[in-house]
């Protein structure tokens, strides 16, 4: 699965979404905290949400669209679409872990000032859910501008989610369970949706 993900996704995509963005956000969060204080936490959170959503364009942009680009080479190979399915699953599974690293780094200044780790964990789960769910919309578009627009909507939703999580931090356990279940369901349904799109791409009707 890792090999399929490595080969079927562009090396620049992997480098940017898995390394450069987390490092950039980490540096931004640590420096920005001196000037913006706690506001930087929310700002960093919005940037992560945007980066997660837009970044997918460079990896699997538009693959759910009818007559998607690049499928013919895969379809003419016996295991082509199976490998694509594995790469897609890996891409979905890597998101929560990647987000955990992003948010944890961006949240260091927040925690240093006595912020609750519970809020960080909730933020990770909220972002992971939205990142996975957003794929079901974004992958129908191969126009980057549309992806930016969708990214803005998802960032707003993520921010609202974060504010609500902060409000209800006393009920962390309940929220954690609910969000973890939502994340698992979102991963399963998104993967099923992608597999279904690959299958229907062989058919015109």
């Amino acid at each position: 699965m890792i090999r399929c993900y490595r080969i079927l996704t562009n090396s620049k995509y992997r480098l940017i979404v898995n390394f450069l963005i987390p490092i950039g956000i980490g540096i931004l969060a640590l420096i920005g905290e001196h000037f913006l204080g706690m506001l930087m936490g929310i700002f960093g959170f919005v940037i992560i949400a945007c980066a997660e959503t837009v970044g997918d364009y460079f990896g699997f942009g538009g693959i759910c669209k009818k007559g998607a680009l690049g499928m013919e080479l895969l379809k003419t190979a016996h295991d082509g679409t199976k490998y694509l399915g594995k790469a897609i699953l890996m891409d979905i599974l890597v998101r929560p872990f990647r987000i955990a690293i992003y948010v944890f780094i961006a949240g260091i200044p927040y925690m240093q000032k006595g912020g609750s780790i519970n809020v960080i964990v909730l933020a990770i789960l909220i972002l992971a859910c939205l990142s996975v769910v957003s794929l079901n919309v974004l992958r129908y578009s191969d126009v980057l501008q549309i992806n930016y627009f969708v990214a803005m909507v998802f960032s707003m939703l993520a921010t609202v989610g974060l504010v609500l999580a902060h409000e209800f931090v006393s009920k962390t356990i309940v929220l954690l369970i609910v969000l973890a279940v939502v994340l698992c369901v979102a991963i399963a349904l998104t993967y099923y949706h992608m597999e279904m799109r690959i299958d229907t791409s062989f058919r015109d009707e």
Binding site: L8, N10, S11, G70, Y83, F202
Partner: protein, 302 residues
């Protein structure tokens, strides 16, 4: 010598909104280059997509290499590994670089040779600077260069059947000549085991390597046969203006001007031209194809 077939199809049907593919019988001879000719929208790409397994929603039976059916094509890895396909446009993801394409091809096809791929990239002058530039993105390549890259990719494998959808269209005349050379060498090196099935609008350019021709119109095969046989079946006729009206009743297709007429006559009708002052020539595949298409088209020809 009895001809064996690399692909045989029966009652291949596929219905789209305003189009229906209905191929009663399809035969692609083994060890030859077969051209699929037809107007835009005749169903050539649909048929090639069905044969190569890119489209699965169709009815009918297809047999590959005399032993596999279309279900085997999806289940048995050997079938697709023996078939190489290139198609226009939607082949690679635009963000893939040439190195990505090489890696992906290695993952997808066990018999893909990187060494051969590099050699073909160099031979086809895919990179203007020469050699091999793996960091080049496929979306940065022109249509012609993209086709060359697809050909390099498919030729770097060890296949028995090449299915090429419009390979000549984006290529310059020199590269078309090179394409003919490559197809010729592929068939020659296969000792009668390797076959090529390609669609084309560039009939004249591809004629010298075409052994067998299939002409499609409105989703049906309207003519098929070895080029040599077709050249015996159809005769190119030229005649004087005084015989135009009589010739119109006999010829398969005819075009007239103030000096006379020319057209295609079926060999079996040749006797009916007795008494007319006509010259007979062996037609080119281009002339035969245009005549057959003219006789079946919905285009208004003047």
């Amino acid at each position: 010598m009895e001809t064996s077939y690399v692909v045989k199809g029966e009652n291949i049907r596929k219905k789209l909104k305003k189009f229906e593919l209905n191929v009663q019988e399809l035969k692609i001879p083994k060890g030859f280059a077969t051209a699929l000719i037809g107007e835009n929208g005749a169903g050539k790409t649909t048929l090639l997509n069905i044969i190569s397994g890119i489209r699965l929603d169709y009815n009918g039976q297809i047999t590959y290499f005399d032993k596999y059916n279309d279900k085997d094509r999806e289940k048995n890895p050997e079938v697709k590994s023996r078939i190489g396909y290139t198609g226009p446009g939607r082949y690679y993801l635009p963000q893939w670089t040439v190195s990505d394409i090489e890696e992906i091809s290695k993952l997808l096809f066990e018999d893909f040779s990187s060494e051969k791929f590099h050699m073909l990239c160099d031979e086809l002058a895919i990179f203007p600077e020469g050699g091999f530039n793996g960091s080049k993105k496929s979306s940065d390549l022109s249509d012609g260069t993209k086709m060359k890259l697809m050909l390099a990719g498919v030729m770097a494998r060890n296949t028995d059947l090449l299915i090429l959808d419009e390979p000549a269209s984006p290529l310059d005349p020199l590269m078309r000549d090179k394409l003919c050379q490559m197809i010729g060498e592929y068939i020659e090196n296969g000792n009668g085991e390797k076959s090529v099935f390609f669609s084309t609008h560039n009939i004249s350019d591809m004629e010298n390597i075409t052994d067998y021709a299939i002409i499609m119109e409105h989703g049906n095969i309207v003519e098929a046969g070895f080029v040599e046989d077709l050249k015996e079946k159809y005769i190119h006729i030229k005649g004087d203006a005084c015989d135009v009206e009589a010739a119109k009743q006999i010829l398969y297709t005819i075009s007239t001007n103030s000096y006379g007429f020319e057209g295609i006559c079926l060999a079996k009708d040749l006797d009916k031209l007795a008494g007319m002052k006509v010259t007979k020539e062996i037609p080119s595949l281009y002339q035969i194809s245009v005549a057959v298409m003219k006789n079946n088209t919905k285009l208004v020809m003047r």
